[in-house]
Symmetry: C2
Subunit: 236 residues, 2 copies
């Protein structure tokens, strides 16, 4: 059997050996859900940035620019971090530069892995199918919230661990815990997550449609994979 592990925070990722593993970066509310939506709706590539200024400069290179801090669109950016903004192929054919509070940092801290994917509920089954077709162990890297454990990323990690169990064993304590938690709470993700700190934060911003989108399973049949520093889609 191959293995699944979960790292709950970018502040702990230095404790893990990334070599020869496929790292799945997860920031359910909302960065990696937004990336999946953008790629599935025809955005050709996404470059991610840790800081706002380098991201903003990409506008001069013809990129759409998306910037979010603390749940809001950063000043001077065309787009924030809402997945529904990309639906109906609104930006098809364009290139996107993106920076968010947590998700883009987790991607940059995943360097050194054999492959880096982005994970979301809307492309969960596609990601499962791809991972099962590969021969490598999987490390799920939760973006968390400013270094802390967060419920939605962890539950996705539990869902992915559960879906992979026929080929990948839950090999660390984090994956055992989250697989069990998903078995208990996965039938009502929205109900359970409505208690979570970040869902409350988002509700304050009146983006309930984003939350619904981010918790919808299997809308898309693509995976998102980082190649040479650029995130692109691959049809599964």
């Amino acid at each position: 059997m191959r293995k699944t592990e979960i790292c709950f925070s970018p502040e702990l990722i230095h404790l893990y050996d990334l070599q020869e593993k496929i790292v799945v970066v997860v920031d359910i509310f909302r960065a990696t859900s937004t990336m999946a939506a953008a790629l599935a709706n025809g955005v050709t590539e996404i470059k991610t940035f840790e800081n706002l200024e380098s991201c903003k400069e990409m506008a001069t290179n013809g990129y759409l620019i998306a910037g979010e801090r603390n749940g809001k669109t950063a000043p001077g950016f065309q787009l924030g971090n809402s997945p529904v903004a990309y639906l109906q192929n609104k930006y098809a054919g364009q290139k996107l530069a993106m920076t968010t509070t947590n998700g883009t940092l987790a991607i940059s801290k995943s360097k050194g892995a054999s492959e880096v994917l982005i994970g979301s509920f809307p492309n969960l089954s596609a990601t499962v199918n791809y991972l099962q077709s590969q021969k490598k162990d999987v490390l799920i890297h939760c973006a968390g919230w400013k270094g802390m454990f967060n419920l939605e990323d962890s539950l996705y990690a539990g869902a992915l661990t559960k879906c992979l169990e026929s080929t990948h064993i839950a090999s660390d304590d984090g994956s055992l815990a989250m697989k069990a938690l998903y078995e208990k709470e996965g039938h009502d993700l929205k109900g359970f997550l409505s208690q979570a700190s970040h869902a409350k934060r988002l509700q304050n911003h009146n983006i309930d449609s984003d939350i619904d989108f981010c918790l919808t399973l299997d809308l898309f049949s693509i995976i998102g994979k980082v190649e040479n520093g650029v995130l692109k889609s691959q049809e599964i």
Copy 2:
């Protein structure tokens, strides 16, 4: 309502505000279980050390010395990290100096809190009763394993959160997750934890009696509290 939060690793504790909170340090396998056993069996005080040498020097001051690294008694120490060694008042009236792989570090990193307690299943109800008699919020600080999330500490944190729910609300994502996990798996702690990495590590050392002890509820009616750098018991 007062609040409960969980920090899953000493490597994340800098993200939390400890002021005005009671921090409960947890290292179920086995440091804090051993401390509870020692105090309940008449050990008068415990000084904790991060490194082996400073701990060993306490022998010249008349202290019993206990040292553990990677699950084994460290060379030159009288005692390792087994709770059952202290039963039947074997070391009653003596003072103990102790260093372990994870637990003693978590205690030293909890400085700045209003109070620091040690938590274990054998004194769970006593700790609950004490916390409910106080007016402060609670932060449960899991020692983890070399910085990583671990299942037994996290499940204890879920048990404590569950037992406090009439007075303290689960206020962060960690406490919500672990309360739900304890509700699912708490009826068979040993069965669930037998999958956990550290339990496997301990089974390799043939200390099944330690594991049984560490998972037994409410053997003792004392709490363990750090005061002026020294851990002492208080009858509840």
